[in-house]
Structure formats: C-alpha cells, structure tokens
Symmetry: C2
Subunit: 103 residues, 2 copies
C-alpha cells in the first residue's frame, strides 16, 4: 500500500462511511431499483439520492442500467456483499461495545 493507494483506500472507505449510502446499499440487496423507488424506500430527497448513487457507482459498488427514462441501480454482489459479511464478522468479535454505545 503506497501513498497513492492510501488515497484510493480513503475514497473507498469514505464512500461507505455514510449512513445514507449504507441504507441505499442495503436496500439494493433485495434487487435492482430505480431512483424513484430508492427515494420512496429510503425517504430521502431525490437529488441527495442521485448524488450518493453517483458516488457509489464511481467506486464500483453499484452498477447502472438505463431502461427508457428510468435508471436501475444494482448492487455489486461480487465484492461488496462479501465485504459487508467480513466486516460483520469483525464487528461481532471486536465492536460489541460500540454497538452498545459504550465509550
């Protein structure tokens, strides 16, 4: 990991370090959705969803597919799903106190 990599890592993790984007990713776990559907399910405002989807797409965490006037976003199941699972394992073991809000 050289200093260039660290910048990339930072951007990558930064993309995941946000509850709105995590909520979007989570919703996409159940299949691809268009922007409107994501707005409805998250109860987020549309432009915010678009901003966040752009960031997720840029980092390869979701893919887009144009269908007429809609844009369907799909989770990258190959890497993002296992990644979330690995982190689940880490957190089960080391972050109980965080989950409980301890300091």
């Amino acid at each position: 990991m050289d200093s260039c990599d660290k910048e990339v890592y930072k951007l990558f993790f930064g993309t995941l370090a946000n509850q709105s984007r995590l909520k979007i990713l989570n919703i996409l776990r159940s299949g691809q959705k268009n922007v409107k559907e994501i707005c409805r399910e998250t109860e987020f405002e549309q432009s915010m969803v678009s901003h966040n989807l752009k960031m997720l797409e840029y980092h390869g965490m979701v893919f887009v597919e144009k269908k007429g006037k809609f844009r369907y976003y799909d989770l990258n199941k190959k890497t993002i799903k296992p990644l979330l699972e690995l982190i689940d394992a880490h957190m089960r073991e080391y972050c109980c106190k965080i989950a409980r809000g301890e300091r």
Copy 2:
C-alpha cells in the same frame, strides 16, 4: 443490517476513511510499534497520532500493550489484514479509473 448496525458500520468505515490512520495501519503491518516510533515513521505530530490510535483501538483495529512508559500498538491481523486484501481485490477490478485519477 438494521438502522443500529448502519451507525456502527458508519463508524467502522469512518475509521478507515482517513489517510493518516491508513498510514498508521500500514506501518503497523511490519510489527508492533510504540507511539514515538509511529510518529517518527509517519512524520505526524504526537497528539494527532494518539488521537488516531485511540480511534483505531476503539474499533478493534489495533491492540495496545503497556511496556513501562511505552505503549506498543499492534495491528489486528485476524480481521483487518484480510479486510484490506479483499478491498485490494475489489479495487483492482473496479477502481482503476480512481487510481488513475479519472472522473
């Protein structure tokens, strides 16, 4: 992943979404180090290193061991190392444009 989890995920990723902390983690890959050594190798100011180490420790990414007046910090090789490797794989495949600075 419920809304409580998302908060924890956010904190977890937030801890990794920072070049200073990534640099510290990277340096710890070659074995445990005390704060002074980390300062020297990173060229970061001491209090900043301490703040960042605290955050890393709180999230189970490093462990501390007191030895006299020194405190040795050690990387969590069980989860953080494989995590970084998984992300390497993701980035090799999807984030080339990021590494190249494209937009």
